[in-house]
Amino acid sequence: MNFVLWCRRCSLSVNGPAKSLLLVAVVATVAGCGREDIQVYTVPKEQVKAAVAQSPVPSMTPPKPRPQVTWTLPKGWQETGAGQMSVASFSIQGEGNTEAQVTITPLTQLAGRDAEIVNMWREQVGLEALNREEALKQFEKVEVGGEPGNLFQIEGKPDGQSAPARIITAMVHRPDASWFYKLSGDGEVVAAQKPVFIEFLKSVRLKEAPMAASAPVPVDAGADAGPASGFKPNWTVPAQWKEQAAGQMQIARFAVPERSGAKAEVSVSVFPNDTGGTLANVNRWRRQIGLPEVNESELSSLVTPLDPANPGAILVDMTSSSKKMLGAVVPRNGSYWFYKLQGDTGAVAPEKEAFVAFAKSKP
């Protein structure tokens, strides 16, 4: 018997009486060789994948529009953003290293299961379950954003934790979901924050989300497909600007006249939202021309209103050592139009008037 092993980097031939002893080593060499070879095979066509590829969002059911939540932030609370399930969360620092958290979480299919909910919470802190009657006795009435709700409090020692934990939960069953407002954490911090929490609950407002928020925005098709899709705004372009092929996610691009070698160009894009807010946009633009970022308080000195007829429209004028950028964000019909004139200062400055007029004109 002759063992022959081959791969792209090595070959080994073993013969003779030592073969049985070397068999293991030979087998092990397969792994040591480390280089795989090209595989060729035939498989059935992928039906599901093909179907998905035909349409960009076929497998997605539109998300249910959730009401938008607003609140008055109590003193000493810090917003920590949305979580996987929660739409908002807050952190409260107590004395020493103690802290508590507040979360706002909408959950469906829980209406009418109040006793079960109380017991689930009790289970979290290692308390035994109560019967239905006892569980419902835990509730006290509370006002949440003008709606009647129930509040209950649980204190216990969760498994594996040394400090006792306290949870105060308010819940309101609404047609869209059951909304849970939970204050939990260090027992003393939670106790001290209870009156603040109840005031916070009163300040909460749920505003029904407009249906358009989950429906495709009309301009999205234009923004997505670009000029090639046939989306052409009906606007008046300054005569001296020359239209260029639009880049990715742009609906138009223009070159402004070159002046003594100084060049600049105008680009226009449309997004279904403000892509992170004014501060984020301005700082991104500042980075593009080599300027340091600014904070919220410095922002107001940079931003000027663009158009008295459109109060949300803003203009930003920024200049670095050799570059200049004019940026405009104009909300129109639920979408955001971004205009940018960027390039060498010598080419940008003379075009400011034309750029402002262009950004103000309704496409």
């Binding site: 092990a28 595989q39 060729v40 996987q84 919470w121 849970f180 939970k182 990715q248 279904p272 940018k340």
Partner: protein
């Protein structure tokens, strides 16, 4: 010469040296995981013949060490050689013989597990049927073309071959690819309209919408190395252009992460648009046939299919704490005329065709409903042909020790009685 070799390989001194080296290797390999990460440390220290240079407490030390394969193989050789040399067919040594056979079985079993076991993942959405699972670590550059109306031919170039660079040819592929750049880890950057970007890597396909940037190779368990390559394609009739192929474009898990990240920044519709662009199909035409290509996670095809009927992910109300993960799957094997439904859930895997399907991850329930996603489930698919050998080895070792002990005990009692 042979006698000398047999003497060396069968010596107890060698056993002690090898065991000592094994202890040192396990110690250093364990410490190195802090710097090199679990996967690389396992690979470098235990799945190689030699370790060229070690890492301890953040310091690289140029110290060569015998690797796990070398120590394990020499231990087996040592044990077998000692057995052959000192073998005595007597009932007095039966327990020792059995114990040694058990140890050999354990060593061989570990080696075969290491060589032949394979872990992949099967990720599917409700209603989706799949006859393949994919690697969570390795990628392949797959060229796919129609073989007939119902099937397609795949030529899959492993990541290691792409990483080797240069020109790659296959007799089954009517085109040549040349690897211009290869990055083991990378990230995609959307060529946003309001940002100034450098010229694209190429204007073809996904590169016209996305830039890709090389990232340092990661060794942590939380991160994943996602490769990207810039390749030039050419057929006999001329060049077919420069293309960017990236794991980001064809790995559903990474696409899902990108979608979530963009959705938080720009909203869901825009995120979907960007992900569609990132995952756009890239293809070239050669001699009238379309060849699509993607750098996708390495696939392992099965002769049967699994369909996810229902993914159940329940959490305790008001918390993210999971209560139950459960996948109702349909197993269809046309070759055996099999069509049945089965539940896969925590601690209750499906064992089928030499594979074990464990419930691994899930995106279902309230969270999926809120984000508008179809519930999906991921099963860990484990193929380990020698999974029984550790059990058998341990039983044999235990039996051997018990027998040897009993032989001594009976002998001792007999001698006392005689006295």
């Amino acid at each position: 010469m042979l006698a000398r070799l047999v003497k060396i390989f069968s010596s107890l001194r060698l056993t002690v040296v090898l065991l000592a080296l094994g202890i040192i290797l396990v110690f250093i390999g364990t410490i190195a995981q802090a710097d090199e990460g679990l996967y690389q440390a396992q690979e470098r220290y235990f799945k190689h013949w030699w370790v060229w240079g070690i890492t301890m407490f953040g310091y690289k030390i140029p110290l060569p060490l015998p690797g796990g394969y070398l120590i394990g193989t020499l231990l087996i050789v040592n044990l077998i050689a000692a057995h052959i040399k000192r073998f005595q067919l007597t009932t007095k040594k039966l327990g020792i013989q059995l114990t040694h056979i058990g140890i050999i079985l354990l060593l061989v079993g570990q080696l075969t597990t290491d060589l032949f076991s394979r872990e992949t993942q099967l990720r599917f959405s409700e209603g989706e049927a799949k006859s393949w699972s994919e690697s969570s670590m390795d990628y392949e550059l797959a060229f796919v073309t129609d073989a007939d109306p119902n099937s397609e031919k795949v030529v899959a170039v492993p990541q290691s071959v792409v990483a080797g660079g240069g020109e790659i040819k296959s007799p089954d592929l009517p085109l040549t690819l040349r690897v211009k750049e290869y990055w083991r880890n990378s990230e995609p950057l959307f060529r946003a309209p309001m940002q100034t970007n450098a010229p694209p890597l190429t204007m073809n396909g996904v590169a016209s919408s996305f830039d890709f940037r090389q990232l340092p190779v990661t060794h942590t368990m939380e991160d994943k190395n996602v490769p990207t390559a810039v390749i030039e394609l050419a057929s006999g009739s001329g060049p077919l252009g420069t293309w960017v192929v990236s794991g980001w474009s064809a790995d559903d898990i990474m696409l899902s992460a990108v979608r979530g990240s963009y959705a938080r920044q720009m909203g869901r519709e825009m995120a979907e648009t960007l992900v569609t662009r990132l995952s756009q199909k890239q293809s070239v035409e050669v001699a009238g046939k379309q060849y699509s290509f993607a750098f996708r996670p390495t696939r392992a095809y099965k002769p049967f299919s699994l369909t996810l009927l229902k993914a159940t992910h329940s959490v305790y109300p008001g918390t993210d704490i999971p209560k139950d993960f459960r996948s109702r799957v349909r197993v269809q094997n046309p070759a055996k005329g099999e069509d049945r439904e089965v539940d896969v859930y925590m601690n209750s895997p499906l064992r089928y065709a030499g594979l074990t399907f464990y419930q691994y991850q899930m995106a279902a329930g309230e969270m999926a409903a809120q984000s508008g996603d179809i519930p999906s489930s991921t099963l860990q698919v484990v193929r380990n042909p020698s999974w029984l050998t550790p059990y058998a080895g341990c039983v044999i070792v235990a039996a051997g020790m018990v027998i040897q002990f009993m032989i001594h005990l009976v002998g001792f009692i007999s001698r006392r009685k005689a006295a």
